[in-house]
């Protein structure tokens, strides 16, 4: 069994001729791993995701995606008031024939998936009335019920409060470890990438990127080059466990101001 599920080779995209968003990007994503894509606004993260999803053809290079994909956008908006169960049930599109309707077994599978994410009580609840974090969990449940092998998430924590960010990040990690899904996500938080991803790709410029093991790639030097901001990587201990965190150095802090005065 091939262990590589996503592979791009000298990939490049330009919306206008000769104005490349990125080019000559090559990397591999291993089956069952968590892969983070980082880069400043406008560097082409979403473009890269669209290419991965087959919604956009790359201008140059080639891409290989082996396995069924499921997509979780930044903010999931629905036009009509579908119930949470209806939303998850739609994950069964590949299993339900073109001219058929979902069966009781499909509903059971959808309920079981909701149960897994602690959302079964909300099955009959309108999806649009859920909070951002709850919506993410419902879309995760839909991805699981669709038997997707690759989960692609566009900034999964950008619209969430701190508590829900932690919950969603924890679930992303668990989907990879427990359900064996390959997870590929974009983020503006290097800390999130450091916490849950195995590998990372930093989109440093049109023709310049760093890719590899997350702990190696997310170095102070690379992150400074990526965001043009001083970032410290700190080691500390929490409940007897070694932890690491990335702290951006703000121009001034309350403590520094207090000490000066």
């Amino acid at each position: 069994m091939n262990n590589t599920v996503v592979e791009f080779d000298n990939l490049g995209h330009a919306y206008h001729p000769s104005r490349w968003i990125f080019q000559n990007y090559s990397t591999q994503v291993k089956r069952g791993s968590t892969f983070a894509l980082l880069g400043p606004n406008g560097c082409g993260k979403t473009t890269l995701l669209k290419i991965l999803l087959g919604a956009l053809k790359p201008t140059a290079g080639s891409i290989k995606v082996e396995g069924r994909t499921a997509f979780v956008p930044q903010l999931f908006q629905v036009t009509f008031d579908y119930s949470v169960l209806d939303m998850v049930l739609m994950g069964r599109a590949r299993q339900v024939g073109l001219f058929s309707q979902p069966t009781a077994q499909d509903e059971e599978a959808a309920m079981a998936s909701l149960e897994r994410f602690g959302m079964a009580d909300f099955a009959r609840h309108p999806f649009h009335e859920l909070s951002g974090g709850e919506r993410q969990l419902v879309i995760f449940a839909r991805a699981l019920v669709s038997a997707a092998e690759i989960l692609i998430l566009d900034e999964p924590t950008s619209a969430l409060d701190l508590k829900n960010q932690i919950v969603v990040l924890d679930w992303i990690g668990r989907l990879s470890r427990e359900a064996g899904l390959t997870v590929l996500f974009t983020t503006h938080h290097p800390n999130h990438a450091l916490a849950i991803s195995d590998h990372a790709l930093l989109m440093l410029g049109e023709n310049h990127y760093v890719s590899g093991e997350a702990r190696e790639v997310l170095s102070e030097e690379h992150l400074r080059a990526l965001y043009d901001v001083e970032i410290k990587r700190l080691l500390f201990e929490h409940q007897g466990e070694p932890r690491e965190t990335l702290v951006p150095m703000l121009p001034s802090s309350n403590i520094a101001r207090k000490n000066k005065s």
Binding site: P73, V78, T79, F80, Y82, D86, A93, R124
Partner: protein, 363 residues
């Protein structure tokens, strides 16, 4: 990583009873189905020649019965002629037209993720009307009328889509509606041109037909609308859950494994066929395809598995009811298209006001 107690952190509202959606299962479509049958029988009693409900029902049962009629039936020849030749074709025509428009509007709104569209908004009605008047000018046979109405209806819808795509808005938003208004206006202008060119003898019939009417219903017209509506409607019914998937948007539907392009164009062709057959036999019966899906959504929610049959039945009931009104309120028959617009507009205005923030649409 430590265990996160998801139920505690993310779903604090589990302590409260969740607000559940209105779900009446299949009770509403079933009751509507019964309602349509009763309304159809009741409509057979409306007209200059009085007839009781039960007598009309017995005549219909005997007409549908594949055996010879009893030698001494409890109705006169005049009565059976009134039902068979005059009233039944008209009732069937109005019901089928309403059912088709209800289904077409619902499928369009779902597929385009836009609760503001309908067959008359995206140009298909105007295109079909142009095809119809052209076929009438050249004395085409019924199949020719439907064929030309279908071709121009489909063409108008394709132009609307193309224009919206050029404006980079896809199928969602105001640009699609504006594109539909532009294309619709163009085809209505062409209809006006045909009316200008057509011989004077044909003009009154053409104008009356364009206003939307079931006058002159006969067996041939019932087949003209019945076959496309029932065949197209049956395929739409089979695809109704897929409309849910299309309503999520192209990217999401695609990642769920839906062949978006093929499915969308298939539904567009079915909708064009249904609307073209309605326009070919009864002219422009506006607003039904916009109003009925909203009312149906309020009754059974947005899931197209229940919504599409509900909209079909509600559409049939709505148009049949209005046609009964046109036959009874004034002596000279009012074209039903005028009544659907006169009644449909305030209903849409009311729904527009009433449903603000209540959430059938997030547009």
């Amino acid at each position: 990583m430590s265990e996160v107690t998801t139920a505690e952190v993310v779903v604090p509202r589990t302590n409260k009873p969740p607000i559940t959606q209105k779900r009446h299962g299949w009770a509403v479509p079933f009751l509507l189905g019964v309602g349509v049958l009763i309304a159809m029988l009741a409509s057979l009693c409306i007209g200059a020649y009085p007839m009781s409900f039960w007598k009309a029902a017995r005549i219909v049962v005997h007409l549908a019965w594949p055996f010879p009629l009893p030698s001494n039936p409890p109705w006169s020849v005049k009565e059976i002629t009134v039902v068979q030749i005059i009233r039944l074709p008209r009732v069937l025509l109005a019901t089928l037209a309403g059912m088709g428009l209800g289904m077409a509007g619902t499928a369009l709104q779902g597929m385009m993720r836009n609760p503001l569209v309908g067959p008359d908004i995206v140009g298909v009605t105007s295109g079909a009307a142009f095809g119809g008047v052209m076929a009438m000018m050249f004395n085409f046979n019924p199949a020719g009328i439907i064929g030309l109405a279908f071709a121009f209806g489909l063409g108008a819808m394709a132009l609307t889509f193309g224009l919206a795509k050029l404006a980079r808005s896809g199928t969602n938003g105001l640009a699609l509606i504006l594109a539909g208004v532009f294309i619709g206006a163009f085809f209505i202008a062409l209809v006006g041109l045909i009316q200008f060119l057509v011989p004077d003898a044909k003009l009154p019939t053409m104008v009356y037909w364009l206003l939307g009417t079931f006058v002159g219903a006969d067996e041939k017209k019932v087949f003209m609308i019945g076959i496309p509506t029932l065949v197209g409607g049956a395929v739409l019914m089979l695809l109704r859950w897929r409309i849910n998937l299309l309503s999520l948007g192209d990217l999401d539907a695609k990642t769920l494994g839906v062949n978006v392009g093929v499915l969308r164009w298939g539904i567009i062709a079915l909708v064009s066929l249904i609307v073209a057959s309605q326009v070919a036999v009864s002219g422009i019966v506006g607003w039904v395809g916009l109003v009925v899906p909203h009312c149906a959504r309020m009754l059974v929610g947005p899931d197209h598995r229940r919504l599409l049959p509900t909209a079909a039945l509600l559409g049939g009931l709505f148009v049949l009811g209005l046609d009964d009104l046109t036959r009874s309120i004034v002596k000279a028959e009012l074209p039903v298209g005028i009544l659907t617009a006169l009644i449909g507009t305030p209903i849409v205005c009311f729904l527009f006001w009433k449903t603000q923030g209540k959430g059938w649409g997030r547009e």
